[in-house]
C-alpha cells in the first residue's frame, strides 16, 4: 500500500521534502520485502569479537547470554560509500505537462536518494546544482544534519538560465577527492556526443557515473490541437509547428536521440536511466541500489 506513495502526482501534494523522501523510501523498502533479489543493509555478514571502543549497540546479547562472551554482529551493508548528485537547475527543467514538472520530480528523486543513502546506508552524500554555472555545492559528508543541508539545497535550487555541462563538470572535478558514485540528474537537451564528452572525465577517477534522464511525457510525445507556436523555455526562441510534424518526425528524432544517448553512455562505462515524470520513483532507487551493490 505504501507503494502508491511512489507516484509523483501524490508526492506533489506533500510540501515537506524530507517527508517526501521518507515516504518514497519507506514505500520502496516495503516493496522490496517481496523481492528476493534485493537484500542489502540488514543482511547478516559475520560475528566479530568485541574490542574496546566498539559501539555497545551492536553487541549480540543473545550470544553473550549463551557463551558469556561479547560478540559484535556485522552486516553486509555497513560498508560506507560516497554519493554526489549533480542536479540540472536550468529553465527547461521547469516544463511539466501535469501536476509534477521535471524539477519537482528531480527534487523528489534526489531527496529520496539522499534519505536512502544517509539513513539506510550511512553513506556520505553531497549535492551540486548547476545550470550554465555552478549554483550550489554541498560537500559529501556523514556529519549530523547533512540530510537537512542537502534537502535545503534542493529547496533552494530554482530553475533558471540554460544548461551547460562544461563549466560545472570542470569545477566538480576539482573538488572530487574520493571515489564514489556520481548521479547526474538532467533532461540532457544537448547532443549525446557533447554530453558524454563533458561527463566522461568523471569516470576516469574511478567514480561510478549514472545519468538520470528526466523527461516529461510531452517531451517525447507532444500534444497539439492545431498549428502552434512553440517557445523554447531556455532561449525563448519561437517556432510555428504543425501537429503532423509533432506526431511523426519529432518522435522519430527524439527516439533516435534517446537511443544514441543510451548507447554512448553505456559505451563510456556509465549507467543510464530514463525517468518519465509520470512514472513512480522506484526505478531510480533500484538503479541506485544495484549500482551500490556492485561496488561492494
Amino acid at each position: 500500500m505504501l507503494q502508491r506513495f511512489l507516484n509523483p502526482s501524490i508526492l506533489a501534494g506533500i510540501s515537506n521534502l524530507e517527508l517526501v523522501a521518507r515516504t518514497v523510501v519507506d514505500g520502496f523498502v516495503a516493496g522490496l520485502h517481496r523481492s528476493p533479489d534485493f537484500g542489502f543493509s540488514q543482511e547478516f555478514a559475520e560475528y566479530r569479537a568485541y574490542t574496546e571502543g566498539d559501539d555497545l549497540r551492536h553487541i549480540d546479547w543473545n550470544v553473550y547470554a549463551r557463551s558469556e562472551r561479547l560478540y559484535l554482529k556485522r552486516f553486509q551493508g555497513e560498508t560506507n560509500s560516497l554519493l554526489t548528485i549533480l542536479l540540472d537547475a536550468s529553465n527547461s527543467m521547469q516544463f511539466g505537462s501535469h501536476s509534477v514538472n521535471k524539477m519537482d520530480y528531480a527534487r523528489y528523486l534526489a531527496a529520496s536518494l539522499f534519505y536512502l543513502a544517509i539513513h539506510g546506508q550511512r553513506d556520505a552524500a553531497g549535492l551540486l546544482t548547476f545550470d550554465d554555472e555552478v549554483r550550489n555545492y554541498i560537500r559529501p559528508s556523514t556529519r549530523q544534519g547533512q540530510l537537512h543541508r542537502l534537502l535545503a539545497g534542493l529547496e533552494q535550487a530554482e530553475p533558471r538560465a540554460r544548461t551547460d555541462f562544461g563549466k560545472p563538470m570542470r569545477y566538480f572535478q576539482e573538488f572530487l577527492k574520493r571515489r564514489g558514485m556520481v548521479l547526474i540528474v538532467s533532461d540532457f537537451w544537448e547532443s549525446p556526443e557533447s554530453v558524454i564528452h563533458t561527463i566522461e572525465p568523471l569516470r576516469y577517477h574511478g567514480n561510478e557515473v549514472v545519468l538520470f534522464h528526466v523527461l516529461d511525457p510531452e517531451d517525447v510525445r507532444p500534444k497539439m490541437s492545431g498549428p502552434s507556436i512553440l517557445v523554447d523555455m531556455e532561449t525563448n526562441a519561437e517556432l510555428e509547428v504543425t501537429p503532423d510534424y509533432g506526431k511523426k518526425e519529432y518522435r522519430e528524432k527524439i527516439e533516435a536521440h534517446l537511443a544514441d544517448l543510451r548507447e554512448r553512455t553505456q559505451a563510456a562505462g556509465m549507467g543510464y536511466c530514463l525517468l518519465m515524470t509520470d512514472k513512480p520513483l522506484d526505478v531510480a532507487l533500484r538503479e541506485y541500489l544495484t549500482l551500490r551493490g556492485g561496488r561492494k
Binding site: W189, D219, P227, V241, T242
Partner: protein
Amino acid sequence: MGFLAPWFLAGLAGLALPLYLHLLKRQTRTPKKVSSLMFYESRTQSSTRHRRLRYFLLLSLRLLLLLLLILAFANPFVNRDAATLASNRLVLLVVDNSFSMRAGTRLADAKAAAMVALGNKGAARAQVASFGSQLRLMTQPIEDQAALRAAVQAIQPGDGHGNFGELARAVRGIAEAMHTPIELHLFSDMQRSDLAATFADMVLPDNVRLVEHAVVTKAEPNWTVESVDAPGQVWGKDVKPVHVQAVIAGYGTPAAQRTASLIVSGKTTATKKVMVPANGRATVDFPSLEVPYGFSRCEVQIDAADNFPADDLRRFAVERSDPQKVLLIHNYGDTRSPFYVGAALSAAAQSAFIVESIIGNEAADRKPSNYAFIILSDLNSVPSLLENSLTEYVRQGGSVLIAVGTSTGARSQIPIFGAHIVDTRDYNRVPDRYMAVGSSDSSYPAVAKADGWAGVKFFYALNVDPGTGPGAARVIVRLGDQTPLLLEKRIGEGRVVLLTSGLDNLTNDFPLHPAFVPFIEQTARYLAGSERQGGARPVDAFLELRNARERGQGVEVTDPEGKRPLTLGEAASAQSFQLTEAGYYQLRLANGRQNVIAVNPDPRESNLDVIPNDVLALWQGKGADTPRNASAQGPATVPHKVPESLWWYIMLLVLASGVAESVVASRYLGTQREEP
C-alpha cells in the same frame, strides 16, 4: 413564395456572428512553451493552408445552420393549387337531418347523394356529420370508405330545427383547428327558415368551399298544426269548461277543408272541420276539454293530405289537480282586501287557488307550510309568534306578499321584509291628490301582463329604503316621485314581495282596474312556484330540472322512447336538460313533483319553402350569376391557391446541418488523441 412572419428575417444580421468569431479565431494563437526546440522544425505555410480549408467548411455549415433557423422562424410558404393538395384537403359531408327532412324521401335522397359524393372524393380525407339544430360529427377525418359509408347510413331523422348560422359557426371552429382546405358538402332541403338571422352569421372562412346539394328545388305544399293553446293545468272537480284552441296553417297550399281532431290519451274526443284559406291559417276551437285527475297526453291532429305527415299533429299535456290554498292575514275590520284578492284569483287563475282569510290574531296557530303562499294585508301589528314562524317559513323557501296599508305607517320597519320605513306619502295633500306609476320593470311577470299599471291612482304609500349591497331589495315599480311601490327581496331560500300601498280601494284604486287581476294572478303563480313547466315545449328547449336549494336531490327523466337519457351523475347534479326529441317526456323533479312535458318540433320546420338561388350563390361566395350546383357531382376541383408552409422541411434541414456541424467541429476542434 412568401413569409408568414417576415419580421424574423431581421435575424439575418446574426450571420455576422460566426463570421466575426471565425475571423477573430484565425488571428489568435496562444504560444506554447516547450523544454527545447532542439528537434522541432518550422511548418508554417502548410499548417495555415490546412486550417483555412477546414475552417471554411465549418464556417459554411454554421452559416447555413443560422440561415435555416432564421428562415424557420420567418415561416416561408408557397402558394399551391388546392387541386394539387388533394391529400391535404378535407371533404366534410354534412347531411341535414332536421325535422323537415322527414318530409317525403328527403333524408334518404340526401344520404344517397352523400354516398355518391363519397365515391367521387378520390384520395382526400373525409368526415361525415349530421346537422339538425347543431352539427354532430359522426367520424374523424379518415379515408376509409367503408367507415364513412356506414356513418352516412347511420344518420337518423331528427326533430330539431336547422340553422345554417349554427352550421357555419361549427365549420369555422373546424377550419381553425384543421388549417387545411375544407370542402363542405351540404346535403339538405335548403329550407328558407334555416337561414340565420343575419347573413354575417353564415359566413364561412376562406379555406372552406361550400358545395350544396339540394334534395328539393322548389317549395312543397304543406298543412300543419301550427300551435295549440291549452291550459297546462286545470284544478278541482267542477270547473269552468276548458277551451283548446288550435291554429291550422297551410304553406303554399290551396284553400281546402281540413279535419282537426282532439285526442286525449289516444282517444279522439272531438272532431271539427275547418276551412283553411290558401296559404293561410285557420283557428279551431274545442270548447270543452275533459281530462281526468293526473296527467293527460293530448294532441290536436289534422288529416294527412300532404307529403309531410309528421307535422300534422301537435302535442300538449294537461294536469288536473286540486286547487292550492292561500292564507290572507288581514287587519280586523279590513274586509275589502280578502274580497278583491279572492275575486281576482277566482277570475283569472282558473280556480287554481282558494283564498283563506283570517285576522292577525287568529293566525298564530296556523302552519304556514300548509299554504302555497301567505298574504299579509295592512297589519298594524304582527304577533311575534307569527312573525317568527313566517320568517322561518320564508327562510326555508316559502313566499309572502306584504301589502302595507295605513296601519303599518306607525312602524319603523316592515316586518319579515326588514326594510326601514323612511316616511309615509299621503298624496291627498298634493295638487292632483294622487300619484301614478313612474317607472316599472317590464321583465317582472306580475307587471308585464298588467300593462305597467297605467292609469292606477295611488293615494297613499310608504317610502321604504330598499337598502344597498347584496341584501338589498329589488325595486320593480316606482311611483312618479320615485317612491318604491313594488319590491322583491330574497330571504334565505324564499322570497317576499312588498307592495308599499294597500290591496283595498282606500289607499289606491288599483283593485278597480283591470290590471289588478293579472297582477294578483301572476304574483300568486310566482310566489306559489306553480309556474308549471308548461304543457308543451319546442324541440331543443332546455328544461330546468332543479333550483339552487334542490342540489344533490335526484331527478328522473324518461324520454319519448321510454329511455332514461340522464346518467346517474347527471340525474344528481344537472341543472337543466335539453329536449331533443318530439314526444312526451315524463319527469320526476327534485321537489318530488311529477310532470309530463309535450315536446313539439319547431313550427318553422313545417314551412318547406326553399332558399332562393341568389341567396345560395351569395352564401357560396360566387355572386348572383352562378347557377346553383344542385347535382351530386362529387367534390369539384375548382383551382384556388392555398398557402403551404415549408416550416417542417426547413426544420429537417436544420437538423441535418446541425449534425454535420457537430461532426465537422468535433473532428477539427477536438483535442487530438495520442496514437498508441
